[in-house]
């Protein structure tokens, strides 16, 4: 990796970003940039070959991440980053495939893809930036909006139950599940690093401030106020039962690493099973650069 | 050009009949044979049929219109498809499963206890092969040799011998019937106008 040039100082993250596209489009106080920094930090620390990392996004504010990282990156359609990632992984099993997307993308329009990729234990990592609403389109109610919160399409408050994403991920078969807030910078980095070192479906949810829409509509103040809320109401409970970690409006945020198990991935299962059934006729796929 | 319909109920291997005959004709008898099938949404039990259009040249219209040959292995299929059969066509039925209505026009009927024969051979699942053997001997549309060559890949390998046996059973029975027919026909031939 490129060492810092002592004569011309620059932010080390610039190695990982398409600086010709910065400044990014995110609002002041938005936490997506912070999560991206944690991701970059994790990549750096894990000393992974960046040529072998692909970043995919769907649509939405977080969906823009793919366009800012200086790695092989695909900005797909709304909700479909997970199946595109599945294709990338299966075509090229040596890649570390990361889906960086918002809550609407992952659990709303792309919810079906999310649970099925987890069920198959597809070897991909999902970083889900959860800001409790559809931000890019103007703050509409989402599958993650806590009951009682206001949104532009829930002007009288949201009365629907919301998803508990770690529970959904675990129940669907994820082998690594963690939740943090954007304030838990180092923890986010560590979780991403751990997930990069694992094989299997990993899911990291990061609760992140949406100042312009969610906070403003709910009169929660600015980014700093939201970070303060995270600080006050976060409770680290590693290994917590994911059934107990759902989030109520401005309520307690149970964070931590909830699941960290090992089991064969989709390709492991495919190779093992077809090898057993077909014998010599079958050449293990994606092993030794196929 | 010859149009053939195999019919029966789902699970009898009716589609397979069309496949075997079509493959035999196109790969080993130097003919063009287009096979289509029709079935309901049920996987088993409803009336089903497969159709073959056989020709020396490329088949254009892929469906049958007025078949010359109808094979019926169930009462329901017989009731549905018999009226479409050409007036001077050939009708082939499973003797025990189809109760015939009075014959129509100049339709020639052949019947074979295909299911019973198959049961006697040890597996009723081969009734369709008995029927195919019978069909090829009484119609001569396709050669027995080509039919047997067509079997591998279309019947499970471990049942290949059984299927060939079933085919032969039907084929030989057909030859017997034809021989009897010839015998009984010869004297009456003179009386025909």
């Amino acid at each position: 990796m490129k060492k810092d040039n002592p004569t011309k100082k620059q932010n080390p993250i610039t190695d990982l970003l398409r600086m010709d596209r910065i400044p990014h489009i995110w609002c002041p106080g938005c936490g997506i940039g912070t999560v991206l920094t944690s991701f970059a930090e994790a990549l750096r620390k894990s000393e992974i070959d960046l040529d072998k990392v692909a970043v995919l996004s769907g649509i939405g504010c977080t969906g823009r991440v793919a366009g800012y990282v200086k790695m092989d990156s695909i900005h797909t359609t709304h909700g479909r980053a997970v199946p595109v990632a599945t294709g990338v992984k299966l075509a090229n099993p040596e890649m570390k495939v990361v889906v960086f997307s918002g809550d609407g993308d992952i659990s709303g329009i792309g919810g079906n893809h999310f649970i099925h990729a987890a069920r198959r234990n597809m070897d991909i990592m999902i970083i889900c930036v959860n800001n409790f609403n559809y931000a890019m389109t103007g703050g509409q109610v989402a599958a993650t909006t806590p009951k009682g919160a206001n949104a532009s399409t829930a002007p009288y408050g949201n009365f629907e139950y919301s998803f508990n994403l770690p529970y959904l991920a675990e129940a669907s078969g994820a082998t690594y599940v963690a939740r943090w807030t954007a304030l838990h910078l180092r923890r986010v980095t560590k979780s991403i690093q751990e997930a990069l070192g694992k094989r299997g479906f990993s899911f990291i949810e990061v609760i992140t401030p949406c100042v312009t829409l969610y906070a403003r509509r709910n009169r929660l103040g600015d980014g700093l106020n939201l970070l303060k809320y995270y600080h006050e109401k976060s409770e680290i409970q590693h290994g917590a039962d994911t059934r107990t970690v759902d989030i109520s409006y401005q309520g307690k945020l149970i964070v931590g690493k909830f699941v960290d198990i090992d089991k064969p991935t989709f390709l492991d299962c495919m190779n093992e099973h077809l090898g057993k059934v077909l014998g010599d006729k079958y050449q293990p796929y994606g092993v030794n650069n196929d | 050009m010859t149009e053939i319909r195999f019919s029966g109920f789902g699970g009898q291997g009716i589609i397979r009949c069309g496949l075997i005959t079509g493959k035999a004709l196109s790969l080993y008898d130097n003919k063009h044979a287009t096979m289509t099938q029709s079935f309901g949404p049920e996987a088993r039990g409803s009336a089903c049929s497969s159709q073959l259009v056989v020709s020396d040249d490329r088949v254009l219209y892929p469906y049958i219109s007025i078949p010359e040959i109808l094979i019926s292995m169930s009462q329901e299929a017989y009731e549905i498809y018999e009226p479409e059969l050409s007036e001077d066509g050939i009708l082939i039925i499973d003797k025990d499963l189809v109760k015939m209505n009075p014959a129509r026009g100049k339709i020639k009927t052949y019947s074979v206890p295909s299911t019973r024969f198959a049961e006697e051979l040890g597996n009723r699942i081969t009734a369709n092969l008995v029927m195919l053997g019978f069909f090829s001997s009484v119609t001569s549309v396709v050669s027995a040799d080509a039919m047997k060559k067509a079997l591998p890949g279309l019947v499970p390998g471990r049942f290949l011998d059984l299927n060939i046996k079933a085919f032969d059973k039907g084929y030989d029975y057909g030859k017997e019937i034809l021989a009897k027919e010839k015998k009984s026909k010869t004297p009456t031939q003179k009386g025909k106008k």
């Binding site: 002592p6 080390p12 610039t14 002041p28 910078l185 700093l224 970070l227 | -």
Partner: protein
């Protein structure tokens, strides 16, 4: 990595790309040593970027660098700069 035998506290030098800042003040709020403060001046976008007010207090924890959503602030090791050593610049 932990280096035993060299417990000298680290010193950091803070670099601020003023025009990239959107004034969220995360860095100011979460600096454990209150090294930063929002400035009175406006940047090109009309935000108040942070300024370093107590550089000597900076312990090179890099929290400001990590929390900044705009990639507008980063910290380098001071010793390295002064001694011109090519030491491990990242923790």
């Amino acid at each position: 990595m932990v280096h035993f035998g060299n417990l000298k506290p680290k010193k950091g030098k803070i670099h601020i790309e003023k025009d990239m800042c959107k004034g969220c003040a995360f860095c100011v709020e979460y600096c454990p040593k209150d090294v930063l403060e929002l400035s009175e001046e406006f940047n090109v976008k009309g935000y108040h970027p942070p300024v370093v007010i107590k550089e000597d207090d900076c312990l090179y924890c890099q929290l400001c660098e990590t929390i900044c959503p705009e990639f507008a602030i980063f910290v380098t090791l001071k010793e390295e700069e002064e001694e011109g050593e090519k030491g491990e610049s990242r923790p």
